[in-house]
Every structure is written in structure tokens, then in C-alpha cells.
């Protein structure tokens, strides 16, 4: 079954271990939502996905992959 994967954990690690709270503040959501997205329990809206990608300053497909 196709699933949306994400590399948020890796990207946070690459950004000097950016905390989930920092990412949440940059993306404009709660820390709990970042946790849920990171663990694959919640698929964010397109808008939030773009905000998360923008927080890392990378293209969307570098954060989320459709497999």
C-alpha cells in the first residue's frame, strides 16, 4: 500500500539537532503535530507540508516522499 514517508528526523539532525518545538514554531503548528508527522501517524495538509519544507529551507520532495 502506498504511503507518505518523511525525512523530518534526519533533517532535524542535520540542522544541529533542531528540536521539535523549534520546528513547530517555524512551521506554525504544535509540537505534538510534528511528533505525529515524524512518526508517520499523521499526514499533514499541503500547506503545512510546505511550511515544514520551508523551515528546513529545502524543496517539498526532500521532506516527503510518496512510496
Amino acid at each position: 500500500m502506498p504511503k507518505i514517508q518523511n525525512r523530518i528526523r534526519r533533517l532535524r539532525f542535520n540542522r544541529d539537532e533542531m528540536t521539535q518545538q523549534e520546528l513547530a514554531e517555524k512551521a506554525g503548528c504544535t509540537r505534538q503535530t510534528i511528533i505525529a508527522v515524524e512518526q508517520g501517524k499523521y499526514v499533514p495538509s499541503l500547506e503545512l507540508s510546505f511550511k515544514i519544507a520551508r523551515a528546513f529551507n529545502v524543496p517539498l520532495e526532500e521532506v516527503f516522499q510518496y512510496e
Binding site: 506554525g28 503548528c29 504544535t30 505534538q32 503535530t33 495538509s45
Partner: protein, 145 residues
């Protein structure tokens, strides 16, 4: 725990206390018979209903306005909780209709006090069901890994 999840847990706790307080006051003050005749008793009960509803409204509306504590995921869960709320209200009304119809079948009419009791019990069920629906929504989302 997400802020809305914590708030729902608190709301559920307060709503249970509120519902129990209403039942205890209603029974201890004389029940349906006194409610029908005593205006001050009705006023006390009205105060309890309205006070509880204001608290319920504040509990959820205050968190919805805080952008750092309420986002799209919370909004989805909140919207989905309406299904639980709707189902609980329907079941409550079905129970009232069946119970009252059976009990007052031979009389052919239902005392007017039940109008108030149906309305306010439905409000209690509705508020409780929303909190339960929100908590269920978070549980379900966390389970779906």
C-alpha cells in the same frame, strides 16, 4: 499530550462533576414534583445548567483561539468529534422517547417538566460526548501508525 487533548480530559472531568452535581441537587431538592412547583428551585437548576455551559464554551473556545496550541490536526479531530456528539445526542433522544412513550402510554400525555429534562440532559450528553469524541480521536490517530 496535545493541548486540546489535555483540555478535553479536563473538560470531561469537570463535565462529569457538573452532571453529578445537577443530578444530586435535583434529587436532593425534591425532584420532578418540586421542580414543577418551586420557582426558586428551577432558578437554581437553571444556574447550574447555564454555568456549566458557559464553562464548557470557555474551555474549548479559549484554546481554539491560541494558534500555538491549536492547529490543523486538532481541528480535524475536533470536527470528527462531532460525529460522536451527534450519535450520543440521537441515542439520548431515542432513549427518552422510548422511555416516556412506554411510561405514559396509558395517560396519553407527558408532563411538561420532561421538556426541560429532555433538553438539559441532551445538553449534558452532548458536552460529555464531545470530550469523549476528541479523546477518542487522538487515541485513534496515535494508534494508526
Amino acid at each position: 499530550m496535545a493541548p486540546l487533548q489535555k483540555r478535553s480530559l479536563l473538560a470531561l472531568f469537570l463535565e462529569v462533576i457538573w452532571a453529578l452535581a445537577i443530578i444530586v441537587v435535583f434529587i436532593s431538592q425534591g425532584g420532578a414534583a418540586k421542580f414543577n412547583t418551586d420557582a426558586s428551585f428551577r432558578l437554581i437548576m437553571d444556574g447550574l445548567w447555564v454555568g456549566g455551559l458557559i464553562l464548557y464554551w470557555w474551555l474549548f473556545s479559549s484554546i481554539e483561539r491560541r494558534l500555538d496550541q491549536f492547529d490543523e490536526r486538532d481541528k480535524i479531530i475536533l470536527e470528527k468529534s462531532l460525529k460522536v456528539q451527534w450519535m450520543a445526542v440521537i441515542l439520548s433522544l431515542v432513549a427518552w422517547v422510548m422511555g416516556l412513550s412506554e411510561h405514559f402510554h396509558t395517560e396519553g400525555q407527558i408532563p411538561v417538566i420532561f421538556l426541560s429534562l429532555i433538553f438539559f440532559s441532551t445538553l449534558i450528553v452532548s458536552t460529555l460526548a464531545q470530550s469523549v469524541g476528541i479523546l477518542f480521536g487522538y487515541w485513534r490517530m496515535n494508534r494508526n501508525a
